[in-house]
Amino acid sequence: MTEKKMIPPVVHLSYSKGDLIIKEGDYGISIYKIFKGHVRIFKKSNNTIIPLATLVRGEVFGEMTFFNFLLEPRSASVEAIDDVELEVWHPARLTEEYKAMPAILRYITQQTLNRLLRMNRVIDELTARKRQSKEERITAEKKSNKRRYFRKNFVQECSYRSATHSSHVDLHGVIKDISPMGVGVEVIERNAMNFNHNLGNQLKISFQLPSGSSINEVAIIKSVKKSKVPGCLFLGLEFSNISKDALKQIGFFMMS
């Protein structure tokens, strides 16, 4: 009987939705062909998931390690998107064939692999740069917002009423800070009008600036917090469609 090299048989494996089939960084030698279902290939770079591809029936994965002669760990993770059935190829016979194939084809294939590895590194670097530039932009925006919407401390009585329900009775509060975007007002939580200080409610608010200019604007409740004063709330109000004149007067006051 002739001695033959034992080549492991092709085996079939099943995975359920969400199962990790290959983990980036692990060592593995198998090559997989999809018989049923879909898989997602992705990389992780600084806790950011970079989706690389979605593969369907008939497509193959795990080929990078094979062409790398099993020297490198898995370059990406593979996850089952739904119920997946795979044919698993052991690389033994294919490695023999690869080594025996014409040298020029091996040369071309190795160049393709090197370019692919280089492109993967380029994607990693560009993703990191993109994230960094996004973070820098957000920080810059926050800084510019802080300057633009700097709130000035300002203690002044004000009156307000619902902007959406007819009422002839004004409620009273105390403005604590002001910006061109809105005011922070301390109000009594329970009031005779049973007016609810709910997020999104619109108010007509009236007050005077130290210059004597009257401000009468509609504002929306953007935040509601308990005030340090018992029985009181602190409302964050944002002007909606503030008039140019009011904006100018508040601007002058902010600069004074």
């Binding site: 690389l52 040369y107 071309i108 994607i123």
Partner: protein, 132 residues
């Protein structure tokens, strides 16, 4: 990078290209496979923000291999433009094809998969580069 003698055995014709000449045009039809014998070429991709350079290849680099390895009527996936004066070798496509066809379906499938992956990652990299 020295040119492997194996490659010389497949060269059927040589061409000298002047600087800034488009050797391969993205989306154009064509299946010649070249090897850079002297000089450098830039690989560029079309993006919404114009052409983006994604790679620079030196002597010994094979170019135009993607449509050949995918074995379908594929269009060129990127521009290849000479950086300076470039000497190119055109490879014997028929001989390459005959040898490639002798490979097992599994090995061809693995090579095809890797080439497709290169095509996808190159596209992704060029779009990312254009965003920055």
């Amino acid at each position: 990078m020295a040119i492997d003698s194996i490659i010389y055995a497949y060269i059927v014709k040589e061409e000298v290209v002047q600087p800034n000449v488009t050797i391969i045009e993205e989306d154009a039809k064509g299946d010649w496979v070249y090897v850079v014998l002297e000089g450098k070429v830039k690989v560029k991709k079309r993006t919404p923000k114009g052409l983006v350079t994604i790679d620079t290849l030196k002597e010994g680099a094979i170019i135009g291999e993607i449509p050949f390895l995918l074995k379908t009527q594929q269009l060129r996936t990127a521009f290849v433009i000479s950086e300076g004066v470039v000497r190119l070798g055109i490879l014997d496509k028929e001989r390459l094809e005959k040898e490639y066809e002798l490979l097992s379906p599994q090995l061809k499938s693995l090579i095809r998969t890797m080439v497709l992956r290169l095509k996808e990652t190159t596209k992704k990299a060029s779009l990312l580069a254009a965003e920055l």
